[in-house]
């Protein structure tokens, strides 16, 4: 009970202390967007025969005729009431757009992270068991190779090979086969939704759409995860309790997988948290290449059109997720290692 209370206090404290950072992000984004040289009113009023009057009207309608401090105060008020403004590029409220698109980004990022961990953990362990050996070098080389290719190139190459040449992958256009019936809209996470409704065919289709973009992203984050697994395993394998475990004659696989790995996972978890929040914001290019209807490509389009509201909303969302993920990692840490929580 006391432990729970402590955790609760800790969460509250952490959330409270992250408010200034988020506020800073909001204000900085707001100002950055106003510095953009494009005038959204001019851009969006550019019909084949729009004149100065239309531009002025639009500017007024968007509140851009006000001085910047007034705009900022209004914007903060709007955020406080949960109104993130309206996107000119899609014509929808930003909140609606985000609700529709966030699950797509999250699903992709989770899958990619899962895939990356599934590869990085065995590779890292393998390398840690024989440090300095050929295996170690090969693992390191392969992982580093993944980081070296810009994601848009690896994405395009994967499409060219697996869709165009071999025809193994479905057409790389979004999350679901376009001719299939509409997916069940429960959580927006298609794999989960199809699984819940028992639609195996749909699950398979959604999965095969997901695999190429997830691989593209996973390639890019393999290296830090594998590297951290290796380091952390090396440290644990050298510690006393492993020597003890070995000396009392436990099976080697048992020592490695149960005792060592469990203890080595914590630092990997931290890195995974960081990787997750970076990936979510950085998969702009992957989403573009795979026509993935996620939040990052949405923000990119808006940015290039000087459409303020979606970019501001996106950055706010990312900052919030960043804080939440860090918090989550922290709590998991605390649960796994009571000494940290007690601090």
């Amino acid at each position: 009970m006391r432990k729970l209370q402590a955790i609760g206090r800790r969460i509250g404290g952490r959330l409270l202390s992250s408010v200034p950072a988020i506020l800073g992000v909001v204000i900085l984004t707001f100002l950055l967007m106003r510095v953009l040289p494009g005038d959204p009113a001019v851009f969006f009023a550019s019909g084949p025969s729009a004149g100065q009057q239309e531009i002025e009207d639009l500017r007024k309608q968007m509140g851009l005729d006000q001085p910047v401090p007034v705009q900022l105060v209004r914007y903060l008020q709007d955020i406080a009431t949960g109104n993130l403004g309206r996107s000119m590029t899609t014509g929808q409220p930003v909140l609606t757009d985000m609700q529709q698109r966030l699950p797509a980004s999250l699903e992709l990022t989770f899958s990619a992270l899962f895939l990356a961990l599934a590869c990085a953990l065995p590779l890292g362990i393998l390398a840690a068991l024989r440090p300095g050996s050929a295996v170690d070098h090969v693992v390191r080389f392969l992982c580093t190779l993944g980081v070296c290719m810009p994601t848009f190139v690896s994405g395009l190459l994967l499409i060219y090979a697996f869709y165009y040449l071999l025809g193994w992958a479905p057409d790389p256009t979004g999350r679901i086969d376009i001719f299939a019936s509409a997916p069940p809209e429960i959580t927006g996470f298609l794999l989960f939704d199809f699984a819940v409704t028992g639609d195996l065919e749909g699950f398979r289709a959604a999965f095969s759409q997901l695999i190429l973009p997830a691989c593209t992203m996973a390639l890019f984050v393999l290296a830090p995860l594998a590297r951290m697994t290796r380091a952390s395993m090396l440290a644990v394998l050298g510690s006393d309790f492993i020597r003890t475990a070995r000396s009392i004659g436990l099976a080697p696989w048992r020592v490695i997988l149960v005792y060592a790995l469990r203890n080595a996972l914590l630092p990997v978890l931290t890195i995974a948290g960081i990787v997750f929040s970076t990936m979510l914001g950085a998969n702009v290019l992957v989403e573009k290449v795979f026509s993935w209807p996620g939040v990052a490509s949405y923000a990119l389009d808006a940015l290039l059109a000087s459409d303020y509201a979606p970019v501001q909303g996106f950055v706010l969302l990312m900052a919030t997720i960043f804080v939440l993920v860090n918090l989550l990692v922290d709590i998991l840490y605390g649960l796994a290692d009571p000494r940290i929580a007690a601090e």
Partner: protein, 290 residues
């Protein structure tokens, strides 16, 4: 670990480096690769067979041949020559961006770590704000806001790296703040500024070098990404990122050489920098090897 047990004492630096390189062929390769890149960058104007900007429209989009080893692009420009000149520009971008964020970040971070107090708290807040940003989007927004010129791409890349250097330097300096030799330096009449600049900063430099090497590769990738979405260096400047981004347009029409050679060059450079970073870590502190 065997590494730390058999490693020679610190003063035999060269011997140690040689020892690490023998045990780690990848690092040796990475060093050779980096040296090669630097040599190519320096020699580019003399070894490039053609003018990287001169067009030759009738000879556009030719596959690799004896006259054009890496083929020609949409305007008939020689891809090999553009790649060689691009080496120059890309290494400049990477070095300038990382150098800038290191210089500013390490300085701010060291002072904060040494002085502490209110300054430290404010800078901490600021880095929190920067860290919470989706970094690539921040870079995009900055380049879009300032205009996509070379110097702005460098600034944007430098700024998104800044918080890491600040934090890193702050932590490392804070650890050393109360060390005997720092107190001795202060006692012998050095000002706080002098202590940070001439004693602490040089002391943490080797550890930061690892980070610098990794960041060099990352800065090149960042510039390439910006080029892909149209916020890169201005044409017709030969730059790898823009060449890859333009070449990627020709994947569907089967003109592979447009993306393959710049892509390979880019990968090679990033690979060298990353492996070098790893290797540096080994050389500086075998126990830190990861």
């Amino acid at each position: 670990m065997s590494a730390s047990l058999t490693s020679p004492p610190r003063n035999a630096t060269l011997g140690h480096i040689a020892w690490v390189l023998r045990g780690n062929p990848l690092t040796a390769l990475a060093m050779a690769g980096t040296a090669l890149l630097i040599a190519l960058a320096v020699l580019a104007p003399w070894i490039a067979p053609y003018d990287p900007i001169a067009s030759d429209v009738p000879g556009a989009l030719q596959p690799p041949s004896a006259t054009h080893w890496f083929g020609t692009d949409q305007l008939g420009r020689d891809i090999l020559s553009r790649l060689l000149h691009g080496t120059r520009l890309d290494l400049t971008i990477a070095a300038a961006a990382v150098g800038l964020s290191f210089a500013v970040g390490a300085m701010i971070g060291s002072f904060c770590g040494f002085v502490g107090g209110r300054l430290d708290r404010w800078v901490g807040r600021f880095t929190d704000v920067l860290m919470a940003f989706p970094l690539f989007v921040l870079a995009m927004a900055m380049v879009a806001a300032l205009g996509n010129r070379l110097e702005n791409i460098i600034y944007a890349t430098a700024i998104i790296n800044l918080p890491f250097y600040i934090r890193f330097a702050r932590t490392e300096v804070a650890v050393r703040r109360n060390a005997g030799w720092v107190e001795a330096a202060q006692a012998s009449g050095n000002s706080r500024g002098r202590v940070v600049l001439f004693f602490l900063l040089p002391n943490i430099l080797p550890i930061v070098a690892v980070q610098i090497s990794l960041n060099l590769g990352w800065a090149i990738l960042n510039a390439a990404g910006l080029s892909f979405i149209g916020l890169g260096v201005q044409a017709p400047t030969p730059e790898w990122g823009i060449m890859v981004a333009e070449g990627a347009r020709f994947i569907a029409s089967g003109k592979w050489w447009l993306v393959f050679f710049p892509g390979a060059a880019l990968m090679f450079a990033v690979l060298c920098f990353n492996l070098l970073g790893d290797g540096l870590r080994d050389i500086l502190d075998p126990r830190m090897r990861t």
